[in-house]
């Protein structure tokens, strides 16, 4: 029976509700629908990146280069916008997704073809991508007055009551929900992470699946790069510095096992929303934003300890059943 109730998501969802109630007890306006929509909008980039990271972690890899990828793509599209202000936004978005996917491809090929541990590859490409931003921008900023109004207005444009940025997150969530549950690629991601040996015997190319996971993660980082730069209307070398840790934190908090194979779209989204609520609630309850880093660190530790406990219990129960059957 228990297996039909997504335990982790329920617990995490309740934790978020408790958090919201605590904040609401001191400042009722925080839970007003318009403010919650703002919180969601603010968390949208984290949600999109967490979904990409989820796919990578599910295949037993990790992508620490997402924030650098985001920053490099953001800088590139901002510079393209400055050079060619007339370029329509859909083209800009296509370029952003393409650039991000290219960077994901680099990670993916190094992991797939050369079998280099993903953590080493992405630690390396993380610094390389950041360095390249400096090289192409010469360390200069691209400021809002240099960008075209169409470029900066797009993520703020309101459709059906929500800004485009929020819609981007919602569409990504829906697409990933379908991809993970209804497509061969989604199933093979779980298979590769759950048991690579078995995956090979069922005809799944482990390395190739990991490669595509990195491409997906890179493409989403590229998309977020444009959304980030246009939303904040500024691009410089250090944007989203250290954001990769927040993305990994969202996944870990969302119950995605770092050992691969276990996790869900709902978990990743809730993990991201949890961090988003914490971040937005801190100033409301008069806690310095400097607490954010320590809180997300503690949340990672608590979540990973908690998930490991949950996983272990499950294993024991299966063993007992097997013993009972004999």
């Amino acid at each position: 029976m228990m297996r039909f109730i997504p335990v982790r998501e329920t617990i995490l969802g309740s934790a978020i509700l408790v958090l919201l109630l605590l904040v609401a007890s001191r400042f009722a306006g925080f839970v007003a629908p318009s403010n919650l929509a703002n919180v969601f909008n603010d968390t949208a980039p984290l949600i999109i990146l967490a979904l990409g990271q989820m796919v990578v972690i599910l295949t037993r890899c990790i992508d620490l280069s997402v924030a650098a990828n985001l920053a490099l793509t953001g800088m590139a599209v901002a510079m393209i916008n400055v050079a060619m202000p007339g370029l329509p936004i859909p083209v800009i978005i296509a370029i952003a997704i393409f650039l991000g996917a290219v960077m994901g491809t680099i990670n993916g090929i190094l992991v797939w073809k050369l079998a280099i541990p993903p953590i080493v590859v992405t630690l390396g490409t993380m610094t390389i991508f950041r360095g390249i931003i400096f090289l192409i921008s010469d360390g200069k900023w691209v400021n809002s007055h240099e960008m075209s109004p169409a470029f900066t207005d797009f993520p703020r444009m309101v459709l059906l009551g929500l800004p485009v940025l929020s819609w981007a997150a919602i569409i990504t969530i829906i697409l990933f929900g379908i991809m993970m549950a209804r497509t061969g690629f989604g199933r093979s991601i779980f298979a590769v992470g759950g048991n690579p040996h078995a995956a090979v015997y069922t005809g799944i190319d482990v390395g190739k699946t990991q490669f595509w996971a990195f491409v997906v993660s890179g493409a989403l980082a590229g998309l977020t790069g444009y959304l980030w730069v246009s939303r904040f209307a500024v691009a410089y070398v250090d944007i989203a510095g250290g954001f990769e840790l927040e993305v990994v934190a969202a996944c870990v908090i969302g119950g995605i096992s770092i050992a691969g194979g276990i996790g869900s779209v709902g978990g990743a989204v809730l993990g991201a929303i949890f961090l988003g609520v914490v971040k937005n609630a801190l100033p409301v309850v008069n806690i310095s934003p400097f607490w954010q880093l320590a809180i997300s660190g503690s949340a990672i530790l608590i979540a990973v300890a908690f998930n490991a406990r949950a996983g272990r219990n499950k294993g024991r129960i299966i063993l007992k059943e097997a013993e009972g059957a004999q």
């Binding site: 190094l110 080493v120 950041r130 360390g139 990994v248 320590a294």
Partner: protein, 337 residues
């Protein structure tokens, strides 16, 4: 994480490392690295007229001494199949604790004790989560990486601690003799200690055994979790030592101190020929790697290359040193076929 990657490489039919050409390449890794170090030295002395000066070279050692101190402990940790990504954050926390103590009038001996103690406590914290709770070290230390630096940010905000006692500057700015710095002396002492520990003691053998086969090590009577816990303690302690040197050299503490240093430490270890999946590697390799990285960054610095561009080289170095031997093996296999 390591288990997983090993599984995958096995699934891909990578030939047994003992019989492969890679084994021979790795056997001469230190020799190759030494040749690279000499080449960089020669290139640098032609590229910049300021390179071959005793004082400049002495200054250049600061580029790697602090990182190398941590790298030695990290090498043992990585050989045992674990990793610690929180080292730079431990430096931040230890440095913040020392800065806080200065505000209450602590002298140099107290500061040293505080720096080392915070390092040890952070190491014990990581070790507890990994060995007692059995959690993957990569996630734990990504968490503590945020937590430790986060505590520094809570204490300091965007402020800075200054006013360290004059005698405290000895560690990072003092000279033992002529151009030989205190940090250089510490670097040599720590290198020798870790070299002996890894290559000449039972403990060192246990570290290799655990990295190659944790289950096998357990069944041959090695207290795997205890050894790993000690390795986390040592990595924390070395981060404490590095925090003392760095704080003493800079003379101030900001919460952003040593940001990104974990990457350079891991790069140094991997460049030194330590297998990122555990089980092999040597301390002499890490020593030479420290010199290679120090010489590269110093040489580029003399040529006015900005720090962030240097990080491109570090990143390429990290991927390159792992990719090239593998490409070599693949090319050799193709030639044979």
């Amino acid at each position: 994480m390591t288990d997983a990657t090993q599984d995958i490489t096995q699934a891909r039919h990578v030939p047994d490392r003992l019989n492969s050409r890679a084994a021979r390449v790795f056997k001469s890794w230190e020799a190759l690295l030494l040749a690279v170090a000499i080449a960089i030295f020669v290139v640098n002395s032609f590229a910049s007229p300021y390179f071959l000066s005793a004082w400049n070279l002495s200054d250049a050692t600061f580029n790697f001494t602090e990182k190398a101190m941590i790298a030695f402990a990290m090498a043992l940790l990585i050989i045992s199949g674990e990793i610690d990504l929180s080292v730079a954050s431990i430096i931040a926390l230890a440095s913040t604790a020392m800065g806080l103590a200065v505000q209450y009038g602590a002298g140099t001996p107290e500061l040293v004790v505080i720096g080392l103690t915070v390092g040890l406590l952070c190491g014990a914290f990581n070790g507890f989560f990994v060995t007692v709770l059995g959690l993957p070290s990569i996630v734990v230390t990504i968490g503590t990486m945020s937590l430790f630096r986060g505590i520094s940010f809570i204490i300091l905000g965007d402020d800075a601690f200054r006013g360290y006692p004059a005698s405290f500057s000895w560690f990072g700015q003092g000279y033992i003799y002529w151009v030989f710095t205190v940090e250089m002396l510490l670097f040599v002492i720590i290198a020798v200690i870790y070299g002996v520990l890894l290559h000449k003691t039972n403990f060192g053998r246990a570290v290799y055994a655990i990295g190659n086969n944790p289950t096998g090590a357990l069944f041959s009577g090695i207290r795997v979790q205890r050894v790993k816990f000690i390795l986390f303690l040592l990595t924390g302690l070395m981060s404490g030592v590095a925090a003392i040197c760095l704080t003493s050299r800079l003379g101030s503490t900001r919460p952003s101190i040593a940001t990104g240093m974990e990457l350079e430490v891991v790069t140094m270890v991997v460049l030194g020929g330590v297998n990122i999946l555990g089980g092999s590697g040597t301390i002499p390799g890490v020593v030479i790697a420290a010199f290679v990285m120090g010489l590269v960054t110093f040489g580029l610095g003399l040529l006015n290359v900005p720090g962030i561009v240097m990080s491109i080289f570090i990143g390429l170095l990290l991927i390159g040193v792992i990719a090239l031997p593998r490409l070599w093996v693949m090319a050799a296999a193709r030639r044979k076929a």
